[in-house]
């Protein structure tokens, strides 16, 4: 077995989803090679070489890889595929955007969002917003797979000593052009890797009220998340959305405030270790998954909680 992991990075650092993906690769077995495709991403390539479990790093450096444009990355990855039994990427927007194209180019089926490795050809994945788990076997020569990061521990960022080899770029496909990104900056931990997540829903009533959750988040070193309804209403930006079609999180503690608990929301948080729900409606489905439920008006409970956290 030989595994190629497509790294998600910001040119300086390897991002957390890649660490979880490497663990999945190690579980499948065989040698793990990491591909760092970027522009001026030497630091990221060096960081990849230090990750425990990584045997080799390929570094492709060209302007066309600066912004993760799928049409440029797909041929690069597909060209390498012949040497590998498995190609893995995290099931993040980065990985989801590029990996299906690789599968199509290789004419193989892709398996999305796996949560368990049963054997090198058999994997478990959620379907129907996690209401069912499918065990899927692939007979494809190259198995192209995205990894649900919350289902695999992160690999250690140190302990490895892989070699970094430069590989040739495959050129600019001149298809879509990156213009700019609008990133919201925050000093809080990243939603998918935070140990504690405090999420607000439609019950928050407006964006300004999220400041109450942010205060609590800062005391707990937590990330802030949201339901789709809260994002749709414009209370918070899209990257806060937790759920079937947003981000999947599994922190030690998830606090759902003014969220009813629709299946699409539960799909993104029900694997959290401890779930707290604060909702004024005792019938809200969120209470069915909550370890600790508090039936209360959030506008009373949240300031009180804030006070009691010291």
């Amino acid at each position: 077995m030989s595994i190629l992991v497509i790294a998600e990075h910001n040119h300086n650092e390897i991002q957390a989803p890649t660490l979880h993906t490497i663990t999945a690769g190690v579980q499948i077995g065989g040698d793990v090679t990491v591909l760092v495709a970027g522009h001026n991403a030497d630091k990221a390539a060096d960081a990849a070489a230090k990750i425990a479990g990584v045997k080799a790093v390929f570094h492709a450096d060209a302007p066309e890889y600066a912004n993760g444009v799928a049409e440029n990355l797909v041929p690069l990855i597909a060209n390498l595929a012949g040497d590998y039994t498995h190609i893995l990427a995290p099931a993040t927007t980065y990985g989801k955007n590029i990996l299906p194209g690789v599968a199509a180019k290789l004419d193989v089926a892709q398996i999305s969002d796996i949560i368990r490795v049963d054997s090198p050809d058999t994997f478990q994945r959620p379907i129907y917003a996690g209401n069912a788990l499918a065990t899927v076997q692939s007979g494809e020569a190259v198995k192209v797979i995205t990894i649900r990061t919350t289902a695999f521990e992160p690999a250690a960022e140190s302990g490895g000593s892989a070699s970094v080899s430069k590989i040739d770029a495959t050129g600019d496909a001149k298809k879509s052009n990156f213009v700019k990104s609008e990133l919201s900056s925050s000093d809080r931990p990243e939603l998918t890797s935070a140990k504690i997540v405090v999420s607000g829903g439609r019950g928050m009533q407006d964006g300004a009220n999220f400041a109450m959750l942010e205060k609590i988040a800062d005391k707990l070193n937590a990330a802030v998340g949201a339901s789709r309804a809260a994002v749709d209403a414009g209370f918070v930006p899209n990257e806060y959305q937790v759920g079937q079609t947003g981000k999947v999180v599994a922190p030690d503690l998830y606090i759902a405030v003014g969220i009813s608990g629709a299946i699409q929301h539960l799909a993104g948080m029900k694997d959290s270790k401890v779930i707290v729900a604060i909702n004024k409606d005792e019938e809200a489905p969120i209470f069915q998954v909550a370890d600790y439920g508090l039936v209360a008006d959030l506008f009373d409970a949240i300031p009180e909680l804030d006070g009691k956290l010291g």
Binding site: N67, V69, A70, E71, V74, T93, Y94, K96, I98, P100, A103, A104, K105, A109, Q110, S112, D113, T122, P126, I127, Y128, A129, N131, A132, L133, A134, T135, Q137, S138, G139, E140, K175, S176, N177, F178, V179, S181, E182, L183, S184, I196, N238, E239, T245, D252, L253, I263, I275, V276, F287, V289, D291, Y292, G293, L294, A296, E304, L305, K308, L309
Partner: protein
């Protein structure tokens, strides 16, 4: 310009799905079906382009059982002009779906292909990306903004870190995200009118696509249930439980 919209018939998003006792799949018999919600957004966008004059024909394509024609009718009632139905197994995998759509694109030459980012049954999030690669077209996934500017598209994409703006020439494949628009409901007169709109049937043979399964589903099971929790009577108890029982703060 023609716009091709790919619409999938799936279990309605409000239905609580049940796994079959023999673990072969989920129960589909007598379950309410509907258009994949992302595909409704794609249809809405296509119709808006037609209304604004940027497009002159909207074609709705669905692949699946004969009942997939109902889903096409829904698109026609929303305002699509005609439909194409390709009969295939409900379990046709994204790669085969992409090959079928490619074959239809080659017949119809649309300037824009709009699809959902994800089907809420298989949750694959693959088909659009595969189609773009097979066609060697630009791809714009997870779009929450799509604008036609001459022969180019200006797209806003929802990504994990925020938003991304890209441009690409047409023809192109765009997969849409939740916040692109709010799909309209079909009015009764439009539902009536839709009954007269044509739906062409194409077969896998005619299209020359092998839609055989590549993956084997060995088992479909229910996820482990969470243990029942408790209702606490006050914020004080909650804080105490989190500190001393769960030990998470």
């Amino acid at each position: 310009m023609k716009i091709l919209v790919a619409v999938k018939r799936v279990i309605d998003y409000n239905v609580k799905v049940r796994v079959k006792p023999d673990q072969s799949g989920v129960e589909l018999a007598n379950v309410k079906m509907a258009m994949n919600p992302f595909d409704e957004i794609a249809v809405e966008q296509a119709i808006r382009f037609k209304e604004s004059g940027a497009a002159d024909e909207v074609i709705a394509l669905s692949i699946g059982a004969p009942q997939a024609q109902e889903t096409i009718r829904t698109a026609l009632a929303m305002g699509a002009d005609r439909g194409i139905h390709v009969e295939a197994s409900h379990d046709t995998e994204p790669l085969a779906i992409a090959k079928i759509i490619k074959a239809v694109v080659e017949k119809e030459s649309p300037g824009l292909i709009l699809m959902g980012k994800q089907a809420i049954d298989d949750d694959s999030n693959q088909t659009g990306q595969m189609l773009a690669t097979l066609l060697d077209y630009p791809q714009a996934t997870f779009a929450s903004g799509v604008e036609i500017a001459g022969d180019k598209l200006n797209i806003i994409r929802e990504v994990d870190s925020g938003l991304e703006h890209i441009t690409c020439p047409m023809p192109a494949v765009v997969t849409v995200d939740l916040r692109l628009n709010e799909p309209r409901y079909a009015s009764l007169p439009n539902i009536m009118k839709a009954k007269k709109k044509p739906i062409d049937a194409l077969s896998l043979d005619e299209l020359g696509v092998d839609a055989g399964q590549r993956l084997k589903t060995l088992k479909v099971e229910e996820p482990p249930a969470r243990e029942a929790g408790i209702i606490v009577d006050s914020v004080d108890t909650l804080v105490d439980k989190l500190k001393n029982e769960a030990k998470v703060i």
